[in-house]
Symmetry: C2
Subunit: 526 residues, 2 copies
Amino acid sequence: MEWKNFDELKAYEALKAVKPVSVKEVMAGENGAKRVKEYSVPMSSGLVYNYAAKAVDEDILAVLQNLADEQSLTEKYKALYEGEIINTGEKRLVLHQLCRGQLGADVVVNGVNEREFYVEQQKRCAEFAKKVHNGEIVNEKGETYTTACQIGIGGSDLGPRALYLSLEGWAKYNNTLKMDAKFISNVDPDDALNVLSQIDISRTIFVLVSKSGTTLETLTNETFVKNAIEKAGCDASKHMVAVTSQTSPLAGNPDYMDSFYMDDYIGGRFSSCSAVGGCILSLAFGPEVFAEILNGAHAADELAKNTNIKENPAMIDALIGVYERNFLGYSATAVLPYSQALSRFPAHLQQADMESNGKSVNRFGQPVSYVTGPIIFGEPGTNGQHSFYQLLHQGTDIIPIQFMGFKNNQMANDLVIQNSTSQQKLNANVAAQIMAFACGKDDDNANKYFAGGRPSSIIAGDQLTPASLGAILAHYENKIMFQGFIWNLNSFDQEGVQLGKVLAKKVLAKDTDGALTAYSELLGIF
Amino acid sequence: MEWKNFDELKAYEALKAVKPVSVKEVMAGENGAKRVKEYSVPMSSGLVYNYAAKAVDEDILAVLQNLADEQSLTEKYKALYEGEIINTGEKRLVLHQLCRGQLGADVVVNGVNEREFYVEQQKRCAEFAKKVHNGEIVNEKGETYTTACQIGIGGSDLGPRALYLSLEGWAKYNNTLKMDAKFISNVDPDDALNVLSQIDISRTIFVLVSKSGTTLETLTNETFVKNAIEKAGCDASKHMVAVTSQTSPLAGNPDYMDSFYMDDYIGGRFSSCSAVGGCILSLAFGPEVFAEILNGAHAADELAKNTNIKENPAMIDALIGVYERNFLGYSATAVLPYSQALSRFPAHLQQADMESNGKSVNRFGQPVSYVTGPIIFGEPGTNGQHSFYQLLHQGTDIIPIQFMGFKNNQMANDLVIQNSTSQQKLNANVAAQIMAFACGKDDDNANKYFAGGRPSSIIAGDQLTPASLGAILAHYENKIMFQGFIWNLNSFDQEGVQLGKVLAKKVLAKDTDGALTAYSELLGIF
């Protein structure tokens, strides 16, 4: 197993030489129908990854399989989950997959079995949540808690928030929502003030999440919230738990009701399955639901072991994405879930992908001479159709699309209106959009002409449930990991966020000159 | 005044020949401070548009001024607001600016003074809202209404929703929120079900918004909501108003409490200042607040008349954006407001910009041979810093940034923590990010090296108020309009959304073949 730059590979040269596929041609007529049936990889939890409308054929897929083999993708994945130092910049292991299952040999660091450590923390979150739900843990007045509010930013916010919103309606509909969840993240004081105005502080547990225990925004919001708790006549130590690393100043601190732990081997943007997501989601939905998310994610992790790319949805998704980025020259990917519950899932993926692979140096710190991570953006369909799809259909750049769609909605209470349910209308739009992008439409009026040839894939399933949600989460995490391997990046550090932090501290210390002083004046800081 | 393609202009050739500016060099040292002071255009309502950190200098600005003059930008703007058929594809006038003020000569169509018509509708919305607020209009039981819920999609949703969220916290803090506002847009039944579960239907006024009265998603959601109203034992005609055109089937229909009108000269994505935004925002905040938004927007429209680009913030913003897109080769723009209240403003701009200028044909329906509208995406800072900024700082593509920041937060209740308020910390991050992107940082470790040279601009102001919000809204609308003029596009139609609608109808009618049938099966529609 060697770590090689992408452009050193034989497959790189081979991809340069492949005959391009016209999506418009191959998706027309019965051949298109055949592709939809054949170019479909089963995922777990009733999902499939379908890539019929991508610009690939058997020749290109064969080269992509060679690429996967030559770059040792499955071996590198195994090395990762069995504890090699994959995060080379920070000299750390990368073990988020172990939060949801055992994938290979035990990983033991300094006598600690890491998988057991993560499971132990999940159990502790579960027990805490059960005691809150059954009234063993109550507030100063002996009342039950009704709301859980996460204080975190970046990976401590986006993933857990996206997952919560994905299941909030489903849980309400099934009468299984145990507690409302809220989220405070921005250092903008209006964010905290707005959330605080919506909740009964006396019956809220705040979940303070910071791995290092030193994140400026999060600690500022903690002080902000503690002030509000005191103003409400409550005792902050009865209203706050910490999720942090065992070495942080927040760990085991009597200022908190309890502390739950992750460690340096769980990156922020991959932490939803650790205590970072586990605490708030167990409080909101109950530990059983969180366990189902983990099971769905683990099943996806197992599939990611397959060396045959046609049996490995995350890997083939990654490979096609790299082909589009490096050889077709597409600079962005749109993520378009046809499910309102997934409204914030694109924002989570935006972080997970862009923070992991938005890099210009390889894992050894050497500049690479090929493009890496694309822009990721998206909104739920059908809303996006009435918004930015104009550019996707008729703009001057081609933007590949990742659709998601489900046969059934979450709440069952659907209505037949004009001979179809809302869910059928929703899905009719997904099918229609894929074909409109792929095949376009000829028209003598150039303004009504659609060139087509705009590639998309879809993750399709029966329903958005805790298990299928977990599978989708892990699918994308694994896709991002594989793309990092292909590009020979370290997908698990984020040096690009450091400089801004350093300069912001200088501003607050008034240790500035030149334009930094001028901007500080413009913004009323000095 | 001639309508010419961008690449037919002398200024196009001149821009090809300009000497590029190194943002890293010009923003260093005292020259950077000088640029921050000089490259700042006053906007209305205490705002400035500052472009110090853009890759321009006096030479390039001179060519951009020539471009503005040669492409007759101010004359075309005047033609637009004085009633020429600027939307050539649909043969329509474009009059959204008249919703907020008189800019030139009266526009009279078929004997109707358009400005007076829009003002009349605003007055009718205002009177209706006042009667709801003071209890003259009540529900079946004689109770006041507490909630207003917009049912719309695309421009009938994104703009009004973004504006509502921008002022919700501010109004609550000042105890001036008259009614809560909610929004239903997605045809996904879970969207409507989720919103309906959060409100007291018996005390809600639903605002049904569809210009044509035929939008599938909106009418489906209307039926959905009417069903819920009946289930709640209420009379739908006491809980719904329509915002539509006078010729639509919804107009003057006794099924609604009242109807308010716009017309074909107000495009969906430019409709926030018409009754589309006016009804829901007047109900939520009171008509006086809506009037302040309009005044702020009108002041921005007046500035857009200036021929000197250094006195016309929307025009210089547009020109710099075109230079970046067509000559520096940047394919996207990130919109990053440092204000949580603006959380959905990037989604509104995404529609406004991408749907207007994401086109490959000019206003005469002829293909153009240059790139047009970029991808627009964004999230509020500081959140984005802990997410996708990694790619913005160190990714292989350069993505220009539009920052927004305010000296003061909306709710005043700020706290000093570690010697600075949260608002100061927030703004320290804006200043720091601009400089980090512009000047980067040398480091022997390539992983910690920041190349810099990543351009940004900022709209900076005292506070996000109704007036400054209106000014920002109009600034971007006018920027988009000017870019459309430069590229010689019709920014006011959206033919690219039609094909998907046609195919979706075919699916629902089971009139499909090939891959469209196969996808419909995959998604459980057939």
